[in-house]
Symmetry: D2
Amino acid sequence: MARDNDDLDLDADRLREECGVFGIFGHSEAAAITTLGLHALQHRGQEACGIVTFDGARYNSERRLGLVGDTFSRREVIERLPGSQAIGHTRYSTTGGTILRNVQPLFAELEGGGFAVAHNGNLTNGLTLRRELIARGSIFQATSDSEVILHLVARSTREKFIDRFIDALFQIEGAYAFVGLTNHMLVGARDPLGIRPLVLGELDGCYILASETCALDIIGARFVRDIENGEVVVITKDGVESLKPFPRVPPRPCIFEYIYFARPDSIVHGRSVYAVRKSFGAQLAAEAGIEADVVVPVPDSGVPAAIGYAQAAGLPYELGIIRNHYVGRTFIQPTQAIREMGVRMKHSANRSVIEGKRVVLIDDSIVRGTTSVKIVRMMRDAGAKEVHFRISSPPITHPDYYGIDTPDRENLLAARMDLEAMRAYMGADSLAFLSVDGVYKACGYDQRDPVRPQFTDHCFTGDYPTFLTDVVGEGAKQQFSLLAEAS
Amino acid sequence: MARDNDDLDLDADRLREECGVFGIFGHSEAAAITTLGLHALQHRGQEACGIVTFDGARYNSERRLGLVGDTFSRREVIERLPGSQAIGHTRYSTTGGTILRNVQPLFAELEGGGFAVAHNGNLTNGLTLRRELIARGSIFQATSDSEVILHLVARSTREKFIDRFIDALFQIEGAYAFVGLTNHMLVGARDPLGIRPLVLGELDGCYILASETCALDIIGARFVRDIENGEVVVITKDGVESLKPFPRVPPRPCIFEYIYFARPDSIVHGRSVYAVRKSFGAQLAAEAGIEADVVVPVPDSGVPAAIGYAQAAGLPYELGIIRNHYVGRTFIQPTQAIREMGVRMKHSANRSVIEGKRVVLIDDSIVRGTTSVKIVRMMRDAGAKEVHFRISSPPITHPDYYGIDTPDRENLLAARMDLEAMRAYMGADSLAFLSVDGVYKACGYDQRDPVRPQFTDHCFTGDYPTFLTDVVGEGAKQQFSLLAEAS
Amino acid sequence: MARDNDDLDLDADRLREECGVFGIFGHSEAAAITTLGLHALQHRGQEACGIVTFDGARYNSERRLGLVGDTFSRREVIERLPGSQAIGHTRYSTTGGTILRNVQPLFAELEGGGFAVAHNGNLTNGLTLRRELIARGSIFQATSDSEVILHLVARSTREKFIDRFIDALFQIEGAYAFVGLTNHMLVGARDPLGIRPLVLGELDGCYILASETCALDIIGARFVRDIENGEVVVITKDGVESLKPFPRVPPRPCIFEYIYFARPDSIVHGRSVYAVRKSFGAQLAAEAGIEADVVVPVPDSGVPAAIGYAQAAGLPYELGIIRNHYVGRTFIQPTQAIREMGVRMKHSANRSVIEGKRVVLIDDSIVRGTTSVKIVRMMRDAGAKEVHFRISSPPITHPDYYGIDTPDRENLLAARMDLEAMRAYMGADSLAFLSVDGVYKACGYDQRDPVRPQFTDHCFTGDYPTFLTDVVGEGAKQQFSLLAEAS
Amino acid sequence: MARDNDDLDLDADRLREECGVFGIFGHSEAAAITTLGLHALQHRGQEACGIVTFDGARYNSERRLGLVGDTFSRREVIERLPGSQAIGHTRYSTTGGTILRNVQPLFAELEGGGFAVAHNGNLTNGLTLRRELIARGSIFQATSDSEVILHLVARSTREKFIDRFIDALFQIEGAYAFVGLTNHMLVGARDPLGIRPLVLGELDGCYILASETCALDIIGARFVRDIENGEVVVITKDGVESLKPFPRVPPRPCIFEYIYFARPDSIVHGRSVYAVRKSFGAQLAAEAGIEADVVVPVPDSGVPAAIGYAQAAGLPYELGIIRNHYVGRTFIQPTQAIREMGVRMKHSANRSVIEGKRVVLIDDSIVRGTTSVKIVRMMRDAGAKEVHFRISSPPITHPDYYGIDTPDRENLLAARMDLEAMRAYMGADSLAFLSVDGVYKACGYDQRDPVRPQFTDHCFTGDYPTFLTDVVGEGAKQQFSLLAEAS
């Protein structure tokens, strides 16, 4: 699930998500634990990360570009983060430059004290709100949509912080999992549909909020429960209080957490991600099995589905593509010939299991399709007799607006071509995707409920679950700032 | 005039000023010219610097810790700063950490476009205003007093930018020279008393604002005139417009520009700084001359006054103290013995002109007096027969609140001791300061006008020229933020 | 096969090898190709790397600490390496500090021109020769054993370079694969037993030498043949000349290339490394199979053997341990509690496939055994009903002196304990190693030939294939230098 | 005396010297004291520096590019340099790249122990010896001439170290001040003519060797005496032993130490450098005085001579050129216009003392004359009525081969033009140099002794004091290496 910038990379054609969040209340090692939690959530965003702690008197903040381990493994950084309350954020930025002032947690000094907040998701009316707030004299420091929540809280006329926060939540649309810190509480919130995940854990009697259970596992914390869709939790020294300010609707979590984003060892909404991915593979074998000699995963994201497929199909699972773990930055190629060699810097065919074989190649999804071409060619170059490409999710035909970085529609392969055209483009002998209903079956449902779909799945169906105010209104253009600053 | 952090340094006991500002409108090389201008103003602040340009569509900002030459000498930095309008700032921070978000120019996106601003001076009601603005829902990003101007402009209910800006100026107290940039204009402003300097220049038909004339000289620009006290200038493609929104009062510029801050080759209010400093020395010789063999300056700030003293007294001027230009950071001393050796890292006695001589030692001012002790001892160790210390300004007895970093009153030597006690503390054979009236005489006045003093001179007299709202009110405590962030 | 410094890492208990080498003669993109070749050999050494090119007039050298991609991906570095001849080296240092002057290729200016050389292996009489050379007035610049070859060549009284080189080879003992560059030739050499590997390839009519075939694959080069044991090859513009100066003996390559070092997609001595590792797993299932529910590899080195075991045993292969790819440097732990959490930074149990299961855990080798304890405990914590540890190589009982970094004998688990004691120490329900003869069977032999063993296998058998002059003589102490230098 | 790389700098046309050396024996703070000593000698070389200590068991070395303060001010660096014996070196490199392996002290492990050495000067047969040593099988690591001394000592057939060292000295020609360290002694040596300086000092009962007395002053050490020409001193725990292996000849020190190199507060051969420079100025006034209004030094090197001139001529000394101390790296100019502005980054005219005046401009020497043109123009631009250029040393007509970096003869202004042509080229109203005999008079001699000149003065006279083997022989080409390495 490594996601690098190298466009020669097989990982270049992955979806990317914006963020992971983490928070802990009342632990003497709050910053160190948050560091570990963010490290476990690193797959959700690798461009920047930050931690804010509160030590009873001051908020202490460290926000940096780069990986968690680059910054927070240093003792002096942890020592600059005293306090027993902490929240953290790890970020992949979808739009705008990756600049320091966009790195979260964001912070504001309110009249009654401080407020730090970290956000996973995307607001579909962020630009509209930003424009309104600027007209009223608010000054924004960052270019991300997340900053509006700070201003809405600061501008709220309610007295108590939690009322101001809920006041702000009622004004925003879209997908969010928030963790926030004030002088007196750790607060968490999920959007009304529960599009982005958030879980509650417990360690040494202290409560924790995190995007995934793997962030609890790394610190040995106990998983308590998922935060529900539309729920606001307030964690203080007196424990956890649950508020449900929104009208109750059934949850509709994002299906891509199972397909690609979540770590395989996480438990999302009661299901093992690894097990679901194996089920996708098994269902795919049932829907689109074919005579073959070996099942080969596209590493690393295709591995669980390939194991599932191989077990269901009774075929041998083999490492037909070897990943080279030693890749730092992109090689600056002097010539075209060298550039082409560079394709093999990250992955190489394991000829001994490919040559003369009928290969079933398993990947988890196809976005632009650019690397699929390369990987089929790599199999052919290694002597594959046949290459059957199987994708353990349906064709992606629509962009996302809830925190997944999808290309524009015209760049989505499945929005541009039908199945046969895609197969021909890739050069595969056959191509098949998991069906939409197959996704739901693998998750234990009979089928997709067309009235109240159990998942947010618009990327496959075009069925967007909320208003898209910025998209349809004046905010349709990309979010922007008048200010360009490199750091 | 180098001012380093080394507390073993003879420069350790200097006053420090907060800032230099620069702006240019309509020049194709705006960023490069601003870099040169800031470089010439580097003596006004060495901790951080920044430039913001406007290219007709976007504001481009580079703000960094360190010297101008550290960042802006790089081609790629200048290339990130396109546009023909630019303002810049070089900073010494008096309070709070030196952190990136305090580095100016500050920027805000207003409803009608952007606004960048750079400030030299200090607001005496900055904390009070900050507190009020936070109560109304404004969010501050920096810990400096300068940010209030942004919020006051953003909150103003007036229509046109210049009216909003003047609206804001009426709410602030203290000392300021502002340069600001909007989508359509370069704006400059000096406080009603003209405490901090600001000059207007012209190059290739483009107007320039700068703290000192030396910033015009470096780029070969023509000096047009001083901006007047209480004047607001609006520079657009149509030229310079002068506004005088405040009731007219006589100017009262800060005397320390002549004594220490301004570069000797600058012309401040029509007077050559070098010539004024020589006059201070000559006046000192007239007031407190003594039989001696050589006149020795404390380098480099005592040099012009020493030349003036030597010429007036008919004594030979000699380099009795040699400055070592190669000093980077402070040596981390392993032991006390090494620490004491380190005193000689920056300066050494030139024994050949000291030994057996009666030495008149000239310095421009005494703050804490800590290095004066060392320098007298250095003269004695080099064999001086007599050491007569002469200071080319009066005793500093009161702290500043207008942008000069003075220690608390209890740390000002002249606030704690009388003349004889100071002499004994330093170990000099005699000690004399220039008189307050002597300062005015050297500047061409008969004497200080006690009713309407011609200069801001409270450090010598305690006569503060404005209200000190934050000092006397609730804001009396140091300016602060709930947030601690290292970068 | 990532090998980090983190002692909490499951990879902490791996063997480490010293080096990979690469050379190319006559290609216009020599430096860029060598960079790619070294990148493919990065698994053989991650501490430092270097490239030397010859451009017909000068030798151009870049030697740096860190990974190949850290340095050589930069265009300006490649541009500093003109010339169509190049050799490169990637290094793991077994003894002494990792300092720049030890980084290879090493270079000497001889009377007739330059000589650059890169060495994979270890000389067993390096210290003895060094001492003799110093006594004769040679000055060493590095602390590695490899530098003696330079001095032996420089001191040789023969006329032609190749005679001087062979003269030097006759004086050294131990394991080596050398690639060297002179003004006129690329030279390669393997020690008389062929302990360390070296292959010949061809690209665009240019000959290449490399430690493994994966370095040929990355650049699309053709594999020509293995360099034979005791062979010296001279590559000039006239082609490849083969010299066999040593008495012929059967080859005896190091078995650890198959077990651990070589990349799975490499072909070593005609065998696919991946296929051999699967055979080790299959043979292990045959020798020590057990009733179980799942086969789980210790990632990543146990994967091929686990697939082989699972296929042979008819058991499901599952990813029971998830590797986190985002690990930079070691987390500096503030407390013991945090330190213990840190164990899970790199690997986590995938509870959904472990809980309630009888697990066969497959690893490729055990050195100190320290991480084996942790991994068994991780399985138990995740709810495993039974944990059966199976190792796809024999117990390591003896240290290596040929370029593998083994701990002292007293730190080798299998040298200290018998099988049952090891099982108890690890806390496994059962433990089994592949037999020595099983290794040979998996490689296609009936058994180990006790008279002329087909492999160098002293780590399992104590049967060292050469003299150990430095070990038994005065040189018994660790190689050292009087000079300590940090860079 | 700052010497930067900026070719827009008035300092761009200075001579540069190779090195300063320092050594101390038997002091518990040896590394810290050596750091201070090197800091005081920083003016002798700013490109690199190094310290080697011996702690009784190991030699500890730190060698870095950059200033002393950049590296050695850090506690961890000093802690890596334990031991009570230390030598250090600060370097300006005349030829070849500035690369780490050229940074001194150099080190060799000899049969009987280690030997570290630092060299100020230049060997005139260094290339010839290098070629001979390579032919005998020695391997050089650096490209500087200094390394031959190591090999000559290593190759010597004598028994005792000091005999080997003297053996080596007899083989080298040219200028040298060496400080060396072995397991048992600190050794110092000056060439037979004493071209480069070396002094003996004492601190806390420990002996010190240093290039100049200012390195003694900084640590509070007592000046004992100059090391004599041709003297070798051996410092052990038993004290100082003086050896005089060479035939005695009168000393002939380099006159440029007085003119430019030495720090003004140093005492060289019994004379105050500052006083000698003032005498040069006074003598110049006697030889070439002229009617004028002010005397203005070219900062900083012209200051003492200008004071001497002004006092002798009875004219006012004024700071007509202001130096800006804040200059880091060269500004990368986007356009020619900006480039021309950049000339004023380091120096600016102080118009108030220039305008309408007849100016006597004093500089210490002219090399290429390129900056003299700029400085005269700067005076004219500032309104000078007349500009009379006076140089306090004779015209430089011949290159140096003893450690001063002079341009080739064709680039020396005075080798290409007569006086009137130089005056016209500079644009001055008059131009005069100090006469050769004037130099000797200012130093207390009646005149230059044409048979046995009291100084090494070939730059003015062409009278080289030693053989120039490399220049006239095959070594005539610049010293070189086959190896190019950036670091």
